[in-house]
């Protein structure tokens, strides 16, 4: 699904953010990228989203070399990737509903169909009763969930998250991870950048460790879900459902 071949990225001014990084993420796989601040986690995600251009190597997404994508194709490529930001990047001039609606508006969905999908996404993150509120009135955890709803509303094959739990307390952070696992279970390929080692080591997913731009560790761990860590009744329900990577669309 996502393949890095010897990817290097040097920023203007000479800072080398990534050095010869290679890895491959299978369909429906879930992985964390970890490392200290400045290790290159965000850069790696930005390269996948084509916010930044690499200097060396190549990145294949669904078998396509994304660096050869014509400029005007970039928006259409981005629609297939959901992104969750640390600062959620919500718009405070409109309601929760309209925020989640945005990706569908961009794709030109029929209003009725779009509204149905927005409600489904909001239901998924447990915020259906807050759709009319302005996101500024929500708590940090709720805002992050709105951001997640927006990222998944047009059912992307790939979900990227950059420090999605960076501003949240451990309990809320674990809840967010439960959500991510649920999306993963329906076949969404997940790549999550996080420096919250105490949380992600307990989750037992694949873990890529970056240090000063180099990939120094790539650990495949036996799966232990976030639901078990969070231990809520809601979470344990979903945790018992088996992952079905064959079921997702391509």
């Amino acid at each position: 699904m996502i393949r890095f071949d010897d990817v290097s990225k040097r920023y203007q001014g000479g800072h080398e953010a990534l050095k010869q990084v290679s890895f491959e993420l299978e369909k429906g796989e879930m992985a964390f990228i970890t490392g200290r601040s400045g290790a290159g986690k965000s850069t790696l995600l930005k390269l996948i989203m084509l916010i930044e251009q690499l200097n060396q190597g190549q990145i294949l997404v669904s078998g396509r070399n994304i660096n050869r994508l014509p400029r005007r194709q970039i928006p259409y490529y981005r629609r297939r990737i959901g992104v969750v930001f640390q600062d959620h990047q919500l718009l405070f001039d409109r309601s929760v509903f309209d925020n989640v609606m945005l990706p569908l508006q961009i794709e030109g969905y029929d209003r009725h169909e779009a509204a149905r999908r927005v409600r489904a996404a909001l239901d998924k993150v447990g915020l259906l009763d807050k759709e009319k509120l302005n996101p500024i009135t929500l708590s940090g955890g709720e805002q992050q969930r709105v951001g997640i709803a927006r990222a998944v509303v047009n059912r992307p094959q790939i979900l990227l998250a950059d420090e999605p739990t960076g501003n949240l307390d451990p309990e809320l952070a674990a809840e967010i991870m439960v959500l991510f696992e649920q999306f993963n279970q329906v076949g969404v390929c997940m790549l999550i950048a996080s420096h919250d080692l105490s949380l992600i080591t307990r989750l037992k997913h694949r873990m890529l460790t970056l240090n000063q731009g180099r990939l120094i560790k790539d650990e495949h761990q036996p799966s232990r879900t976030a639901a078990a860590v969070a231990g809520t009744s809601f979470a344990s329900q979903t945790a018992s459902r088996p992952a079905s990577p064959t079921g997702h669309r391509t």
């Binding site: 629609r79 718009l91 508006q105 029929d110 209003r111 329906v186 079921g247 997702h248 669309r249």
Partner: protein
């Protein structure tokens, strides 16, 4: 149905027909246009300021155009009446006048003549100028008798020829071509036409820059939104669209405001202008912009607003 099959079905992207796409696209544009209008309304002070500047910039050429249009009525009216006035000497005798009239009647380039005696001239003048008391108080009538010649055609050369023929004949004081001031009017009008064109060009640029600048400010104030839209896969066209609609609204509303201002001005001027025009005959009336020019004003200003927005968008949206 297995769980996997169910998931597959739920994830199947719903395909829209071409017609559904067209309907969605149209409603998107309508919403976009209305949202742009609402945004103008939400910032009444700055919008009003921008619209006022656009309206004034458009009002100037419109005003000049209307002035030219009104003046050209005279051009059309008087060009048909190619008049040459032969002023007679104060001490002219009846025989000379008769001789002159006979010559004129025989002249092939003259279609009609009218003799105006000195007394008639004084009466006419008193009537037209409203200075009857002054004229009446004079001991002698200062006005000469004259013969007004209507030439057979409207050509300037004919008038010149007539002037040359009658100038210097016995009893003739001097011959004046009314064509002369028509010539002046003509050249003034063509000058005014050029001025209108030049003004339209210059002030169109002004409208372009005014809208461009307003759009630049609104792009700056919506930076967060633009960045997010860009990240979640909005095309440049999609991001630019609301700004282009804002530009169209600025232009269109500015043009409408200019039209209203012009109409008010005409209303104020109507009374005095009608009085003035009455002196020159009843066929003259104060004319407004007219339907064609009104549509040109509104359409042109909308296009200018759109162009200004385009300029601004192509300069400032590339940053994101």
């Amino acid at each position: 149905m297995t769980a996997a099959a169910k998931t597959r079905r739920n994830n199947t992207k719903i395909r829209l027909s071409t017609r559904q796409h067209a309907v969605a696209w149209l409603s998107l544009h309508r919403e976009c246009a209305m949202a742009a209008l609402r945004r103008l309304w939400q910032q009444p002070a700055s919008s009003a300021m921008t619209l006022a500047v656009i309206a004034i910039a458009l009002l100037l050429p419109a005003l000049l155009y209307v002035t030219g249009k009104n003046l050209s009525q005279f051009d059309n009216g008087l060009a048909q009446a190619n008049l040459v006035t032969v002023y007679l000497q104060a001490d002219v005798d009846e025989a000379s006048i008769e001789e002159l009239q006979r010559q004129m009647a025989a002249h092939e380039r003259i279609s009609s003549t009218r003799y105006i005696s000195a007394a008639q001239a004084a009466t006419d003048f008193a009537q037209w100028s409203g200075l009857g008391d002054v004229v009446g108080s004079l001991a002698d009538n200062p006005l000469p008798a004259s013969i007004v010649i209507q030439a057979s055609d409207a050509r300037y050369e004919t008038a010149v020829q007539l002037q040359e023929t009658f100038n210097g004949l016995p009893g003739v004081d001097f011959v004046q071509m009314d064509q002369l001031w028509l010539q002046r009017l003509d050249s003034f009008l063509s000058l005014a036409q050029r001025a209108v064109v030049a003004l339209i060009v210059v002030l169109s640029l002004a409208v372009l820059f005014i809208t461009g600048n307003s759009i630049r400010t609104s792009i700056a104030s919506r930076e967060a939104e633009i960045r997010v839209m860009n990240l979640i896969g909005a095309t440049n066209g999609f991001i630019a669209r609301p700004f282009l609609y804002s530009g169209i609204w600025y232009g269109l509303l500015g043009g409408a405001l200019a039209w209203i201002l012009l109409a008010l001005l005409m209303l104020v001027l109507r009374g005095p202008a009608t009085e003035l025009l009455a002196y020159y005959g009843h066929q003259y009336q104060l004319q407004g912009l007219g339907a064609n020019a009104s549509f040109a004003l509104l359409g042109g200003s909308a296009v200018l607003g759109w162009l200004g927005a385009r300029l601004s968008v192509s300069r400032h949206l590339t940053r994101f």
